[in-house]
Symmetry: C2
Subunit: 381 residues, 2 copies
């Protein structure tokens, strides 16, 4: 009898009431109950997005919403700036390229965050740049970009700021309206504690103006149709209704905790994890780490892929390994969504035991003690 | 205490083991278990598609796969033939138009099925037509198109036949390989007894050749990526894993029953329903009705929208009303997916009671008796 723990940056654990909501007999998606469900979910998403703008939803994974955030905002021949500091920044440029959009990349060493001055410089040199595409947390490295500063730059120009907040929404702060972020994209299976299959997009009026002018082809991901239907609690196409039921349960939790408290909880879990990793004696991979997940650079002699495999098979603990060029070199531990202090303790304790098992010289409990210290200090504040 | 019955042509009822599968703690979509799950599901889908070709899946509703069946197969400037006999035929032409593809429509009166000779004539006049887009069952009318005859025509040409089998797969026969259908599109929430959120596409080698030549933009719905990943039990993007778990349970049922037996069961339910409606004295709407659902033309004095609303609120019975120009004029009763003879009896009996309540002169039990007769005759064969 071994309990399983999921510490990947998506999917994340689902609260029991959300799991059970999906096991209810299915209902027609155009019933009055479904209309009320859709309206309620879209209203509560605004709280999570920290916006008064409407949020729309799509039945797809987060990449579907990213696809739509290119095809709905841009036109053929447009030029955009893409911040590439990992796999998901690269995805923005792949999507733009697929649609024939010109990209100016700002390549940032993996693990680092973009220097906002470089973005400012590019926009001043190329005022015709239509949009800046960035990530909030680059999930492949665990690095957080300074979206507030980027929005400060784009706000005074005609350039849109489009943010992939797929993994970080609810964990790292993103004040869409207050900061002036034009488009925010996210999905269900990360901070929103719901299984994968739903994606969300918030757009402000500047973004909707761009949508009206866009001439790239789109049908299923047409934001105008999703937006218009959503206002009436409806959908252009059959939605993933069981996932909407789960989402409603999960959003109720965030709504009751309050988005800022929700983010503060994530910040505390991230602080504790980083403190533990430092106490264990390993370097963090990201220079400005996100609340969403912690990336740990492994000693060169350790095979990260084998470590992740062993942890899953022997300990029932699923961490994420490195992607792309980081394969085998880092371990990523998410503290995301339906998690609390004791989940972090389990993640750290298991990490210590696993590292000891593969021969790393480790003092049992050093990381756990550091995490306990953070939680105790925070709790007594 | 009132039980609810869902007789809409999607979503359809979900078997309990599939509901409970979704309530299990979520797992990582790149785990060994997930790889085995994806491989198993894709293998069993081939049985349902009656093909030896690979089937790929997408996290979206069926319309997402239709979108992909345009953007992956065609190029700018291509001309296609679209059979429009209802809302879903029209959707094909809307998608083609969104992508700048030229369409030659074959408009068929709603309720009727296309005359294959008209398709043959068009292809002979315009041999450069790249593809014919059709539906198997036009869900908005309940009419079945003769896909076998259409495939017989396209097979000897270089024109592809692309079939929207969204609602009818598993209920109406579609022998992809034997008939020579090039592309079949379907989704989870109809005959496949799974909640909405997954879509499927089967393509033969002629279709893959077209994919290689296509220059329309696509990213999320890129069939090549989904296909290549699927062969390894993987995915390009996080899939709706809870829905895959449910799908596996549902596919096991079809696999055990066998696809032809599954279709025969639907045929029997459809025969019984049509026989019942005739006994009640109402006309069927479709000239060649599908096994998927039965559309009933209501007497002019009856407000179909009010009838459907009353049935849901007072009887807990959800039928579908008419869409578009048929709004208020027809009622659609699906006998689709996880249903058996007694579900049909409930659908008919409730229809009789509802019609009596709104003042239609009806002999209680006439429709039920006709359905019983069909089932008894069939069972004793």
């Amino acid at each position: 009898m071994k309990k399983k723990y999921l510490f990947t940056p998506g999917p994340t654990p689902i609260p029991s009431e959300a799991l059970l909501a999906m096991a209810q007999p299915i209902d027609y998606h155009r019933s009055e109950d479904a209309v009320a469900l859709i309206k309620d979910v879209l209203e509560k998403l605004k709280h999570v997005f920290q916006t008064e703008n409407d949020v729309l939803f799509l039945t797809s994974s987060g990449t579907g919403a990213m696809d739509g955030a290119v095809s709905n905002l841009l036109s053929q021949g447009d030029t955009v700036l893409v911040i590439r500091s990992g796999k998901f920044g690269e995805r923005w440029s792949e999507i733009c390229t697929a649609y024939g959009v010109n990209i100016i990349p700002i390549d940032v060493e993996w693990g680092n965050s973009v220097d906002p001055e470089k973005v400012d410089h590019q926009l001043k040199s190329n005022p015709s740049i239509k949009a800046v595409y960035s990530t909030l947390c680059e999930t492949s490295t665990g690095a957080l970009h300074d979206i507030q500063s980027l929005a400060h730059i784009t706000q005074s120009t005609s350039t849109l700021l489009v943010v992939d907040a797929v993994s970080a929404l609810g964990a790292d702060d993103l004040q869409m309206d207050k900061w002036g972020v034009d488009v925010v994209v996210s999905c269900s299976q990360k901070g929103l504690m719901t299984p994968p299959g739903l994606a969300f997009v918030g757009l402000n009026s500047r973004a909707w103006d761009a949508v009206e002018q866009s001439n790239l082809p789109k049908y299923y991901f047409d934001f105008r149709k999703a937006h218009k239907s959503g206002l009436e609690g409806s959908v252009p196409y059959t939605p993933a209704i069981t996932l909407l039921n789960a989402l409603q349960c999960a959003l109720n939790r965030i709504y009751e905790e309050g988005i800022q408290n929700n983010i503060a909880r994530h910040q505390q879990m991230a602080l504790a994890t980083r403190s533990a990793i430092k106490a264990i004696g390993l370097p963090l991979f990201a220079s400005s780490p996100a609340n969403t997940l912690t990336s740990i650079r492994l000693p060169k002699e350790i095979d990260g892929k084998a470590f992740v495999k062993m942890m899953r098979e022997e300990y029932g603990i699923t961490y994420a390994g490195g992607q792309g060029e980081l394969s085998g070199k880092i371990v990523r531990i998410a503290h995301l969504g339906w998690m609390d202090e004791n989940d972090v303790i389990v993640a750290i304790s298991s990490f210590e035991r696993g590292m000891a098992e593969i021969g790393y010289d480790i003092a049992y409990g050093a990381g756990v003690a550091a995490a306990q210290q953070v939680f105790t200090t925070q709790d007594s504040q």
